[in-house]
């Protein structure tokens, strides 16, 4: 009797703990109010829904080694994770997940995001900011004869065939992203037409012919039609090597229009930046009447000191603000030593982009380039459908199981159904307790594991029937039924659990959700079949004192 009391107490405690674990509670989390994310308290059941059920975005970022091998991948990816996490926190997502996979991947999950393209850009942008002084020494002009010579030796893109081809194949693969497919092809066509009708101007070679002097030292204009060709030349390794030492060539981010002609700018700058974005400790978007959209930034003390002394040395020089290898706006002239504040001019770009740029500057630059390997966005409506369908399938499945149990085993079947209720509550509570995420495969795994949980009951009840057939007393039959079924139940549960554990270990995303639900289900099923149903039988035996016939 005391044994029975302890058993009952344990069951009641487990059920209460499970109900407590599943009780709706007040949590503080980011929620969307009128299109903005704010922190607020919400009342909800502590079972998180996965991306497939509530909609959102899944990104897998991979270390991009196409522009140079990264030596310490482990370290690089860890630092990248920090930056990505900072950015996402600033971006404002309900409950983001950022985790590493292996030593070269980052998985980002953004529930509730409805602008995938923007999220992609924010996560992936390198945000490498540099302040560089434009060249005052006419270094490029002096090197041009050599560059022209190299360009002639290599041959231009037109002599290799259509430029459109090169934009698709390797040499300029890093640059063609700037163009849509269409404008790339158009540029190619016009270049071809140009070279066919008017040969390269006599004053210049293949490169110098493309360049026109700009207004400030180190600045060049290139007409829009010639941009693709110039980009091709400047991406050639031979040309890169021939650029005067200590100097670098950077493209401007925007086009400008002078007298109806559209130009891109090219800047020659000192390759050593006077300061980089690492020193930024705050950045805010702003809208100014003169410069349009800008991002105002503030440097930390150390950076401010360096910035002041460097700018003091370069008064009357021009300072290019280079973001991810593109010069932002037109380099301003340095009037006097600049302290800790400055701004980046974004020209025609809208406020949203200024916001995003400020965000990535605050969060810091990515230590290594990342490339998106895998991207999924799931609409919220898809998730609602899936939940409704999953729930109705689950309800029907449970109804069928209950019907079969009660019709076939009568009273004992009812005890088994009680055991199944215990099983369901504890399984869900375990999932909530482990912070597991309820995904579609998870629900499927749960529905399925109900079927498998019943298996344990069938094993036991069939054994009890066999023992009753052998003419044993009810009490002995129940005891022997449980003890004989024990080995089969343990072995089946352990083999399935081993498979589930390996699934968890090697699987990703949805497969993991399935494995977790299965593991929780198996644990609950063992306790339910062996302990709970047995206790119910003992309770029944205790009440009837072993005199009543067993309905099984």
């Amino acid at each position: 009797m005391t044994n029975l009391k302890y058993r009952l107490a344990t069951i009641v405690a487990l059920v209460l703990a499970s109900i407590w674990a599943l009780w709706p509670r007040t949590v503080i989390e980011r929620v969307k109010r009128n299109g903005v994310f704010v922190y607020d308290t919400v009342q909800r059941v502590p079972l998180k829904r996965g991306l497939d059920l509530q909609g959102g975005m899944y990104l897998q970022l991979e270390l991009d080694e196409s522009k140079g091998v990264v030596s310490d991948k482990e370290d690089a990816i860890q630092r990248a994770v920090k930056v990505v996490r900072n950015r996402i926190d600033e971006f404002g997502v309900a409950e983001p997940t950022v985790q590493t996979v292996g030593n070269n991947r980052i998985i980002v999950e953004l529930p509730g995001i409805d602008d995938p393209e923007r999220a992609e850009a924010v996560v992936q942008q390198a945000a490498h900011l540099q302040f560089m002084i434009t060249d005052e020494t006419n270094a490029l002009e002096r090197a041009l004869p050599r560059l022209d010579q190299i360009a002639r030796d290599v041959g231009g893109p037109t002599s290799q065939g259509a430029l459109g081809d090169t934009s698709k194949s390797s040499p300029v693969s890093g640059l063609e992203k700037l163009f849509t497919q269409d404008s790339g092809a158009k540029a190619a066509d016009t270049t071809k037409a140009d070279s066919a009708t008017s040969p390269i101007p006599p004053t210049g070679g293949p490169i110098s012919g493309l360049l026109q002097r700009g207004e400030m030292p180190g600045e060049f204009y290139i007409t829009q039609e010639n941009v693709a060709r110039a980009e091709y030349y400047f991406s050639l390794p031979q040309i890169q090597q021939a650029i005067p030492p200590g100097k670098a060539v950077k493209w401007g981010a925007d086009t400008m229009s002078i007298g109806g002609q559209i130009y891109r700018t090219l800047y020659v700058v000192d390759s050593r930046p006077i300061i980089t974005g690492e020193s930024i400790n705050d950045a805010r978007p702003n809208n100014t009447p003169i410069d349009g959209t800008v991002v105002e930034f503030q440097l930390d003390n150390e950076g401010g000191r360096r910035f002041r002394s460097e700018t003091a040395k370069h008064i009357q020089d021009y300072m290019a603000i280079v973001l991810d290898d593109r010069v932002m706006g037109r380099p301003p002239v340095i009037q006097g030593a600049i302290g800790t504040r400055g701004q980046i001019t974004l020209g025609r770009r809208d406020m949203q982009q200024a916001q995003d740029l400020a965000l990535v500057l605050r969060a810091g630059a990515l230590p290594v380039p990342l490339k998106i390997a895998d991207v999924r966005s799931i609409g919220a409506s898809l998730g609602d459908d899936a939940i409704r369908q999953g729930l109705s399938a689950g309800a029907l499945g449970i109804a069928i199981v209950i019907l079969i149990m009660v019709v076939y085993y009568r009273f004992s079947g009812m005890l088994a159904v009680l055991g199944l209720m215990f099983y369901s509550v504890t399984t869900l509570a375990m999932l909530a307790g482990f912070g597991a995420v309820l995904t579609l495969p998870g629900i499927a795994g749960f529905v399925l594991s109900i079927g498998m949980a019943v298996d344990a009951n069938f094993l036991i009840f069939e054994r009890i029937r066999e023992e009753v057939d052998r003419g044993k007393t009810i009490r002995t039959s129940i005891d022997e039924g449980f003890s004989h079924a024990w080995s089969a139940i343990v072995d089946t549960h352990v083999t399935t659990a081993l498979t589930a554990a390996i699934l968890y270990q090697f699987g990703t995303g949805p497969v993991r959700g399935f494995a977790v639900a299965l593991l929780a289900g198996l644990a609950a099923s063992m306790v339910s079949a062996i302990f709970v149903v047995r206790t119910l039988f003992l309770l029944w035996l205790n009440r009837t004192r072993g005199t009543a016939p067993l309905s099984i």
């Binding site: 393209e117 390997a373 069928i400 199981v401 079927g451 069938f458 004989h484 497969v511």
Partner: protein
């Protein structure tokens, strides 16, 4: 007391040769088909792009197809999904995958641009979009294969420890057969092998092992009773004794799966198909694959000389079609020490 299949004495194992023929007839065409055209892998494994769109009006599949062909995706697969308003577009050919390798969302953007041009912006919404690079896909299929092999290895060790190596080996071989049969079934239905379906196949493995363990657990118990019954008869007896449980569990699980098939929706349906077939084949193979394999192993590597004699005797009996059903142990006065 409602009882089904109670106290049966069916000589199941006698039919193993016929069963083997059925298996071979089922598997051979599928193996040939798989060898010729491979599997219908989802983009998760090959890389590629999948977009689910919801149009405001019934979607014109042919118009979408021609527009996508213009946009450079002549091999895009387009199908309605769920309702006639919803479309699933799948782009999986190598050139598109290569395009994706440079920028993951490129194909999605291009398709949306093409559809915007044709149908106007806002005439449809993107319900879901996925773009997977080929490299991620390769790794994934590698991982799945490794996971299955490790699961087999660990189960083999566990069962060898709990039972003995003969039982473990028979279980694993029979389960492998179930995987091959399930893959053949998927080939016949031309089901797409997605990550979710792979999860289903792994569940089939778990269920199939579960079923074999239950039967072998009975064999182990009957062996412990120390009665000098040939293994052939012992297996038959064990299969018969566990038959009510096998049928009940099988039908309950199938009922749950039926619910998933009917109400689970298009996302769950392939998964439910795999499990439905897998559970039937898993139950079947416990009797007709695992048991004959165990008998074969036993004959090659007998436990004891005395067993060998029994087995050959029983084989001879089975082949000469003599009534081979053993007397059930029901009501026997077996010593209590023989059981646990």
């Amino acid at each position: 007391m409602l009882r089904i299949l109670h106290n049966t004495k069916i000589d199941f194992i006698r039919l193993w040769k016929q069963a083997a023929i059925v298996i071979v007839v089922f598997l051979i065409p599928a193996v040939v088909m798989i060898a010729m055209s491979g599997f219908n892998w989802s983009i998760e494994f090959t890389g590629g792009t999948r977009i689910q769109l919801q149009f405001q009006n019934a979607a014109e599949v042919s118009a979408v197809r021609s527009e996508l062909a213009n946009a450079g995706f002549p091999n895009a697969e387009i199908a309605t999904f769920g309702s006639p308003n919803e479309l699933m577009i799948r782009v999986q050919d190598p050139t598109a995958i290569a395009q994706q390798d440079r920028a993951a969302g490129a194909v999605v953007t291009a398709i949306r641009a093409a559809l915007d041009r044709r149908f106007g912006e806002g005439s449809y919404t993107v319900v879901g979009a996925e773009a997977v690079s080929a490299k991620v896909g390769d790794e994934l299929s590698g991982q799945a294969a490794i996971a299955v092999l490790i699961a087999f290895g660990i189960t083999l060790i566990y069962l060898a420890w709990r039972f003995e190596w003969r039982f473990a080996l028979a279980t694993i071989l029979a389960t492998m057969h179930d995987i091959v049969a399930t893959l053949a079934f998927m080939k016949y239905l031309n089901l797409e092998i997605s990550l979710f379906v792979v999860g289903g196949i792994l569940t089939v493995i778990g269920y199939s092992m579960n079923d074999k363990v239950v039967v072998f657990d009975r064999v182990r118990e009957n062996l412990k009773k120390g009665r000098k019954l040939p293994l052939y008869d012992l297996l038959n007896q064990s299969v018969n004794e566990t038959l009510p449980r096998t049928v009940m569990t099988g039908s309950t699980t199938l009922a749950c799966l039926l619910a998933l098939l009917i109400f689970g929706g298009d996302v769950i349906r392939p998964f439910a198909w795999v499990l439905t077939f897998g559970i039937i084949i898993g139950t079947f193979s416990s009797i007709y694959v695992a048991s004959p394999i165990l008998l074969w192993i036993e004959r090659k590597y007998p436990r004891m000389a005395v067993d060998k004699a029994h087995i050959s005797a029983s084989q001879a009996r089975a082949e000469s079609q003599v009534e081979a059903a053993p007397r059930p142990i029901r009501g026997s006065k077996a010593p209590a020490t023989g059981r646990r």
